[in-house]
Symmetry: C2
Subunit: 204 residues, 2 copies
């Protein structure tokens, strides 16, 4: 009878501040999400704890997990693997808890394929809406600079396509508040609530 | 370039506490919604002000407005007309403000036909989820009582069909918080934000 938890995926262009927003979410006193710890083959940095910051694995272990389909998404950066163990995600959701992933755009695509019902949130750089001012006050900046900025904006807007929500990261506290609202709203979606009520009546 | 406001429709079975929740929403210091004042043919009660509590109209005026298609929804209760003037709703939305309607289920159906993009929130009685306990602890209540309650529940669940979100009215403050979240989340929906960004680039 328990309602399944949500899978919340926070992603966005690199440098947008995903990590900062995620840390702020988990430093809230009453965070309602379970953070999905990533797996990596890179060596622990000073102070990093296995099972807290990351699950640290050897290259062989990681590749064997890939083969067994145990990774929801993974990628290789600078010679090291990074990925999300799928079992933890599934078990946490089955227990009725919401799981929170903070991952790169490439990884988010892999997750969408496997969990189309996930809640995909795109963290957008504030520069996107600042762009308008730049265009309007043209003349104070070089034509080339604006053109470059517009090209970047176009590719960022294209990235959004896969996502359900877009949160602009103007201020970390506001972004956190919006993400909390999005998740709360999602729990109130009619299809979800209706299903729970209908299940209740089936007991009959 | 201004983004259009949302139309937020709060409805639910009679007696669920729609009016109380609406008042609590509008007693918040930083309410972001514009309340759509209803029009009625009933006489003002003591203390009621025209244009604040209601727009008070004669029966002839009201019927002429119906004919002119000036009412977003209307109904007749106990010999008096009640309705929502459509011009105010459209103008407020065009100005970029969210409009809030608190109406009966019948009216909500009429609004959905005219504004399919509105945000429809169903306020559900807490008794719906209490029902499960009643079913489980059967024996403490008469079989007939439970059966009646279940029939009511079924018809309430059927009413939800038209709505986007369901908020259970267990506690007014929690219901208000959820409604605020739903509206904030809706403003972050990708289609909406993406459209705004794309418009920005069109200036080019």
């Amino acid at each position: 009878m328990k309602e399944k938890g949500l899978l919340i995926v926070l992603s966005g262009p690199s440098g947008v501040g995903k990590g900062t927003v995620r840390k702020a979410i988990f430093s809230q006193e009453n965070t309602k999400f379970e953070y999905s710890i990533s797996m990596t083959t890179r060596l622990p940095r000073e102070g990093e704890v296995d099972g807290v910051d990351y699950f640290f694995k050897s290259r062989e272990e990681f590749e064997s997990l890939i083969e067994q389909g145990k990774l929801l998404e993974y990628a290789e950066y600078v010679g090291n693997y990074y990925g999300t163990p799928v079992d933890y995600v599934r078990e946490t959701m089955d227990d009725g808890n919401d799981v929170f992933l903070e991952i790169e755009v490439q990884g988010a695509k892999q997750v969408r394929d496997k969990f189309p019902d996930g809640l995909f949130i795109f963290l957008a750089p504030p520069s996107l809406s600042e762009l308008q001012n730049r265009i309007v006050t043209r003349g104070t900046e070089s034509e080339e600079l604006i053109r470059n900025r517009m090209d970047t904006a176009r590719s960022e807007i294209e990235m959004m396509n896969l996502y359900d929500y877009v949160v602009e990261n103007n201020e970390v506290a506001t972004a956190v508040e919006k993400i909390n609202s999005i998740v709360q709203a999602e729990h109130c979606r009619r299809e979800r609530v209706e299903k729970r009520y209908k299940k209740m009546l089936e007991v009959e």
